[in-house]
């Protein structure tokens, strides 16, 4: 809270000039409006500093939920090797742990981290400071409260039973309103931009801001509040999950990548038109993906999904070309930049998981991969390999800048990169290969019993458990660094405060403007 007030007063002081100019009409409402209008000549450092507290609130909580996700996922994974492990504990049964781990990754880490990165990127690209930071800070806290309630509800057996939408009302309502507040603030930053021409990242980020409220409210209204009947529930569930896991993460992640990669390589994005083409085709086709080919629904639905998934090759190629032509020749010089490595690995995972998605939508292939571990492998590659890794890269780049202090253990970032990369590889590769092996065995019902196919999966699962362990270690490093940075920042604030108390009384500009206002009223 002390942080809050400090930066608040800093903002006031920078507007001292503005309010003393319009002395004649000093009313609180006018002051509020003035505080939302950006002044001229803002330096990047000022923009960064204005984002400080909301970023700490969003990323700090996100890093915590990421550790929670890893712990829950690891415990769930151990149950494959020892079904009796923690079996007497009601709220740690596999069917509750796994959805809780998934939601902790998606709603605990991915969404708040993505929103934080989007806010900062929009502020930087619009060359405006983030104003009225009380609202994003409150929203971040409301968000984390919602995630806490939602996860607790899943563990006590109150989950809704719909994949990726498990949070009941107590969790979904807070995160919905928190999202609206953050999206509104991000839109206001954009509306107050001083550079009128739009950079491609802005298209992606703005579309993502708009996407989530629509799909989340639709899914909650049609599935939880007033559930529709029958298998229409499943169709809406797939539509929602596809739009959140593929489209939303794609828009935010690519928006960030299209900002950072040109920045690191020093080459402009190659080219804006191709990126725009990728944006259009991506939102046009990816939004129709998600209905599995064998689903017990009218045939036109999976057919439409399969066609859309085939067309997904077009945006994937466009995005590949944009990224490749932008980073070509700059990979080795940037090899020591951990953020570059994270985002590069993220974009690679995006393309690879896109190809896996296309394969799973193809009826000939899905006959083998349906219901196998191939599906979870794709999801993990997308959520962790692509989205979380891209966000890690962005966070390691921007957080020291917005706080104005270095990370306490900058070298751990590199360790985090290698642990994540190895962890994702060990998690995804065995599950994908194991999934195909499993699917091929299922094709042979007369020779291979089902129980044997389950047993044959165990070696693959053992490797994936190791992958989860490495990811947990990596995530702990991120958590330690962010918490350490927050502690440093608080200590610095405390030092400033004590220096301020000890220093002789001096007239600050804020004090002066307040005095001016009083004189004017008198």
């Amino acid at each position: 809270m002390s942080a809050n007030e400090t930066s608040g007063s800093g903002e006031l002081s920078s507007f001292g000039g503005a309010s003393s100019l319009s002395r004649s009409a000093v009313i609180p409402a006018r002051r509020l409006v003035n505080s939302l209008v950006p002044p001229d000549n803002i330096s990047p450092a000022e923009i960064d500093h204005s984002c400080c507290v909301p970023m700490l609130a969003l990323f700090g909580g996100a890093a915590f939920w990421l550790v929670v996700c890893s712990v829950l996922g690891l415990v769930a994974s151990i149950k494959f090797h020892a079904p009796d492990f923690l079996a007497n504990c009601v709220w740690l049964t596999y069917g509750r742990l796994q959805p809780a781990a998934d939601d902790a990754l998606l709603y605990g880490f991915c969404l708040p981290a993505g929103l934080g990165v989007a806010l900062w990127l929009l502020a930087r690209l619009s060359q405006t400071t983030l104003r009225g930071i009380v609202v994003p800070i409150a929203a971040a806290n409301l968000w984390h409260l919602g995630v806490f309630v939602g996860l607790a509800a899943i563990l006590i057996g109150d989950g809704t039973g719909f994949a990726w939408l498990e949070f009941p009302r107590g969790g979904s309502v807070p995160i919905f309103f928190a999202y609206l507040m953050l999206a509104l603030w991000a839109t206001m930053i954009f509306a107050g931009r001083r550079e009128r021409a739009m950079y491609p990242s802005q298209w992606f980020l703005l579309a993502a801001l708009f996407w989530f409220p629509w799909i989340y409210s639709t899914a909650n209204l049609f599935l939880v509040a007033w559930p529709v009947r029958g298998v229409a529930q499943a169709v809406i569930g797939w539509w929602f999950a596809g739009n959140l896991l593929v489209v939303w993460t794609g828009l935010i992640g690519l928006g960030a990548a299209f900002y950072f990669l040109p920045k690191f390589t020093g080459r402009p994005l190659q080219s804006h038109y191709l990126a725009l083409f990728g944006f259009w085709t991506f939102i046009l086709f990816a939004t129709w993906c998600g209905i599995p080919p064998g689903a017990p629904v009218p045939v036109w639905m999976p057919t439409l999904s399969a066609v859309a998934a085939a067309w997904l090759l077009v945006p994937l190629l466009a995005i590949f070309l944009v990224v490749w032509q932008t980073v070509r020749g700059s990979i080795m010089p940037n090899w020591n930049n951990t953020s570059f490595c994270f985002i590069g690995a993220g974009v690679d995972s995006f393309l690879l998981s896109g190809l896996m998605l296309m394969a799973m939508a193809c009826p000939q292939i899905s006959r083998v991969t349906d219901f196998t571990w191939f599906g979870p492998a794709e999801t993990q590659l997308r959520l962790y390999g692509f989205f979380a890794m891209t966000m890690f890269g962005a966070i390691y780049h921007l957080l020291p800048r917005v706080v104005g202090l270095e990370f306490p253990f900058p070298k751990l970032a590199r360790a985090h990169f290698w642990l994540s990369l190895a962890g994702v590889a060990l998690l995804v590769v065995p599950l994908a290969i194991g999934g195909v092996v499993q699917g091929l065995k299922w094709q042979n019902p007369n020779a291979i019993a089902f129980a044997d196919t389950t047993k044959a999966m165990l070696p693959f699962l053992r490797v994936s458990t190791t992958g989860l362990l490495l990811m947990l270690l990596g995530n702990l490093l991120l958590f330690v660094n962010i918490m350490g940075l927050t502690l440093r920042w608080k200590l610095a604030l405390l030092k400033q405060f004590t220096a301020f108390v000890k220093s002789p009384l001096a007239e600050t500009s804020a004090g002066a403007s307040l005095r001016d206002e009083k004189e004017a009223q008198a």
């Binding site: 708009f210 029958g230 539509w239 009218p298 299922w442």
Partner: protein, 267 residues
């Protein structure tokens, strides 16, 4: 693209289109909740599950059973089986004839020709329509799952990962309530090497009083509680078992046909 309004418009068109396609259209097409008629019968399908089974569905949801089990059987096609229903006057001729022929998994024309052949030899034969595919061969169902099967479920628990077997027809495969309960309490006692975690928290182990409880489970050898104790299912376990027994999609429909078993003649 110079201003934000165009981005908004682009998103509105793309997302609005898929919203109409995969939210509005399914609700209009499937959300009406009409029953359908059973093939070759005037009966209606499906009927609502009994109340206890609906409570069991909530236990199924709360414990996340759908994380490991699907409730959707798939099939790759349909085929015809020719079944001998009578041998007529010359049973030996007919038996000799069919012993040299392939009778299962035929297409319609071949099956018709075969029936004609058997009829010409004096026997009686019928064509039966059967669903084909790995799931069907595993005995997980008589036909693929269709939208009608889930009309009364809320939430619909289709699942998307088979860590365990499909459950769309588990009530037909294992109609014994005691088997279901014992399997929930100690999966390895009924399925050797099962990877399913035990759900002991849905049961109580208690000392046998003056008379054993009528609900107590009957265990296979070596798996029961210590002597003098019995395992009694909590209401939740009983509801879950009733729900599992209510899972049987064993009715032929127009969009998922199969022939009910006829009286097969065994020479």
């Amino acid at each position: 693209m110079k201003n934000g309004f165009l981005v908004f418009l682009a998103s509105l068109i793309a997302l609005g289109g898929s919203w109409c396609g995969f939210v509005l259209a399914p609700v209009l097409q499937l959300g009406g909740g009409k029953q359908t008629t059973i093939l070759n019968s005037s009966g209606l399908y499906p009927v609502d599950r009994p109340g206890m089974a609906n409570q069991g569905l909530q236990v199924y949801r709360a414990n996340g059973c759908a994380a490991c089990h699907t409730e959707q059987v798939q099939q790759s096609g349909v085929a015809c089986d020719v079944v001998l229903t009578g041998a007529g006057k010359n049973p030996e001729v007919v038996t000799n004839l069919i012993s040299s022929l392939k009778l299962n998994g035929l297409d319609k024309d071949l099956a018709d020709a075969l029936v004609d052949k058997i009829t010409a030899a004096g026997g009686k034969a019928e064509i039966r329509i059967v669903a084909t595919g790995p799931d069907i061969d595993r005995g997980w169902g008589r036909r693929h799952s269709v939208a009608e099967d889930f009309l009364y479920d809320d939430p619909v628990q289709l699942g998307n990962l088979r860590i365990g077997p499909d459950l769309a027809d588990v009530g037909m495969r294992q109609p014994d309530a005691n088997w279901q309960l014992v399997h929930l309490y100690a999966p390895q006692s009924e399925v050797k090497g099962s990877a399913m975690p035990p759900f002991r928290y849905l049961f109580r182990v208690k000392k046998i009083g003056s008379a054993p409880s009528p609900d107590a489970l009957a265990f296979p050898k070596d798996f029961g509680p210590p002597a003098g104790y019995e395992v009694v299912p909590a209401p939740q376990a009983q509801e879950l078992a009733v729900y599992l027994l209510s899972l049987h999609a064993d009715v032929p429909l127009h969009n998922a046909p199969f022939s009910q078993s006829a009286a097969v003649f065994k020479p």
